[in-house]
């Protein structure tokens, strides 16, 4: 007798990975909690998180969009302004440091002298440079929109039941002095890059975990019942600012994030890890879910992830996505709309 004798089949490679089709593997046999339609589920994270946000409703779950478009704005315009892409208009939150400073700004722990980028006499929110296409007319407009947005973020973390966060990147650009981290490098989405003012950082395991723990602890203070689902984006870096080849830098980044997410879920009862990254990026998937650029995840891959998500978290599977009924044209259109500022790093 030895400890492995008592392990379930899922613990054995030959009984599962070697023996089953990739689409039949159960990546998440058990969860600490389930999701129900009554729960307010909020989402944030990198661009892959947008897929999660879009699909929750198809499982009968409630993607809680706390920041709603104003009356009189058409659905098309609302989409352009990124209403409903996530639960609030923070756009992509690629790094955990971004998440932390979002909470700090929202709860007044940082003075809201927010970063402003200017271009052709237009004003851009340095923390979400593409949230208002073409920028703001005035600095006062930017501040008014930001104040409303942060009030909604405050409400989100105070009231939501489950927060689904997708960790995306370790690399980021910061403003020297203040240490405020940008979502994308200044000069790509808006503004101009200033080497004296903008510095590169590649966050490491201890500080990422510390940031995530800080956010959890702070939010637990205002919303003790909030639970977390963390996942790691399987989408590689579009570009790296390190000296490594992008695939090496990407592997490092994802490995660190995967380790952080695993540790974070391991030590907290109210935190779950969901293996989006493994479903898409494992070598054993033979790259079947990658698009032609070997980076983007195909709609079929997203379907697989979300089918597993529903199977794991939704009682009764929650109306699992049926691939035969997938509207490819519609999904393609949706995929084409996924906002990913990180792509701007590769802009010529």
């Amino acid at each position: 007798m030895h400890p492995y004798d008592h392990q379930p089949p899922q613990a054995f490679w030959r009984k599962t990975v070697s023996a089953q089709a990739w689409g039949e593997l159960d990546f998440k046999p058990a969860t600490k909690f389930k999701l129900t339609p009554a729960l307010k589920i909020a989402t944030a994270g990198s661009c892959f998180a947008q897929h999660m946000a879009k699909r929750l409703q198809s499982f009968g779950l409630r993607h809680w969009v706390v920041e709603q478009p104003p009356t009189g704005v058409s659905p098309e315009r609302a989409r352009e302004l990124q209403y409903g892409v996530f639960s609030a208009r923070y756009a992509n939150v690629y790094t955990v440091r971004q998440l932390r400073q979002l909470v700090e700004f929202a709860f007044g722990l940082r003075p809201d002298d927010s970063l402003v980028l200017t271009e052709k006499e237009r004003f851009f929110d340095g923390l979400r440079p593409r949230i208002q296409p073409g920028g703001y007319d005035t600095l006062a407009d930017l501040r008014a929109d930001r104040a409303w947005h942060l009030a909604q973020v405050r409400r989100l973390f105070t009231e939501c039941d489950v927060f689904v966060f997708t960790l995306g990147l370790t690399e980021a650009w910061v403003e020297q002095g203040s240490g405020i981290v940008f979502p994308v490098c200044p000069g790509t989405a808006a503004g101009e890059f200033d080497p004296a003012r903008h510095g590169f950082v590649n966050f490491e395991y201890p500080e990422i975990l510390a940031d995530l723990e800080w956010v959890r602890e702070f939010v637990a203070g205002v919303n003790p019942g909030m639970r977390w689902i963390v996942t790691v984006s399987p989408v590689p870096l579009v570009a790296t600012a390190t000296s490594d080849p992008v695939i090496v830098a990407s592997t490092y980044s994802k490995a660190v994030l995967r380790a952080v997410a695993g540790r974070f879920a391991q030590v907290h009862e109210g935190v779950e890890y969901f293996p989006s990254f493994e479903i898409i990026s494992s070598a054993q998937s033979f790259g079947q879910y990658l698009e032609g650029d070997l980076r983007e995840v195909s709609p079929r891959g997203v379907n697989h992830v979300m089918r597993q998500f529903a199977g794991a978290f939704v009682a009764g599977g929650g109306g699992v996505v049926n691939e035969a009924r997938v509207d490819i044209a519609g999904l393609s259109a949706v995929a084409a709309q996924v906002e990913c500022e990180e792509l701007l790093n590769a802009r010529p």
């Binding site: 709603q68 104003p70 009356t71 009189g72 704005v73 058409s74 315009r77 302004l81 208002q132 703001y136 007319d137 005035t138 006062a140 407009d141 008014a144 929109d145 104040a147 409303w148 009030a151």
Partner: protein
């Protein structure tokens, strides 16, 4: 009425009530009720006390009786028969027609503090702190959505009377006094109880955006627009409560200053225009 005497007309619905109160009085033969019940406009002479050489008329109709608002699609105006009949009540020889038609769309969109509404900044001030924000561009899109029926209805009038000068008279600006509005809630009482009255600054911003945009869009059609009569306004630009009827309209005092505006406008035309 002498056929050679130039004529001007005021056409409208509820925004014409104050004018009738001030200058006409009770309509004969229960004319108001008849117009409301039958959908056939009430018409009659309108004496503003000038200007010399002009004779006036009013055309009062019930807005729903004029059918759905016209639609302008690909440069073609589509208007319902009912509206054609209403416009047909304006004397064909009228040389200048002042339109007080519609305007309730603005009231519906702006009076109640709907939590879905957002504020925006304009040349007169910044959006209110703590309010949902929208860009001026998006605000304009929203304003156009609800003011489109005013625009198309006045363009329909222009089309119906191509020889006449057409002047758009916007609805009165928002009443500044919230106390007055709450004391005269009309049919909005339950909504005010639930959501309150939209802050005056927001109502005024919407009004200014709507009237400026309407004036700019009507101008290429040769349609002039009057500003709100200065004598009825508070220093901030709202409607003074003493000039208000209910929570939306101008009263007979408002009509008096509006009448002065109409006369002043006609004076700028001169009788020469009237005889064209």
């Amino acid at each position: 009425m002498n056929a050679s005497t130039p004529r001007f007309s005021l056409i409208g619905s509820s925004h014409l009530f104050g004018v009738i109160d001030q200058y006409v009085g009770k309509l004969p033969d229960n004319g108001f009720q008849r117009a409301w019940d039958t959908g056939v406009p009430a018409t009659g002479p309108l004496d503003l006390g000038g200007p010399p050489g002009w004779q006036g008329e009013f055309v009062l109709f019930n807005t729903p009786a004029a059918g759905p608002p016209p639609e302008l699609r690909d440069g073609m105006l589509y208007l319902p028969e009912q509206l054609s009949r209403v416009l047909g009540s304006v004397s064909a020889d009228s040389r200048c027609v002042f339109s007080l038609m519609r305007g309730h769309e603005y009231a519906v969109a702006s009076l109640v503090d709907d939590p879905g509404h957002a504020d925006f900044s304009d040349a007169h001030g910044q959006s209110l702190t703590g309010r949902r924000w929208m860009s001026r561009q998006d605000a304009l899109g929203w304003v156009r959505e609800f003011s489109e029926p005013i625009f198309t209805t006045v363009v329909a009038l222009r089309q119906h009377l191509p020889q006449a000068r057409i002047v758009q008279v916007p609805p009165p600006p928002p009443i500044e006094s919230e106390a007055h509005i709450l004391a005269h809630p009309e049919s909005f009482g339950a909504l005010f109880s639930a959501y309150g009255v939209k802050p005056f600054e927001m109502r005024l911003r919407l009004y200014r955006l709507m009237t400026a945009d309407l004036a700019a869009r009507l101008q290429p059609y040769g349609i002039a627009s009057l500003p709100p009569p200065a004598g009825a306004l508070t220093p901030a630009g709202g409607l003074h409560a003493d000039f208000a009827r209910g929570c939306l309209h101008g009263n007979h005092e408002y009509a008096r200053v509006l009448g002065e505006q109409v006369k002043a406008y006609l004076n700028t035309l001169g009788v020469a225009h009237a005889s064209v």
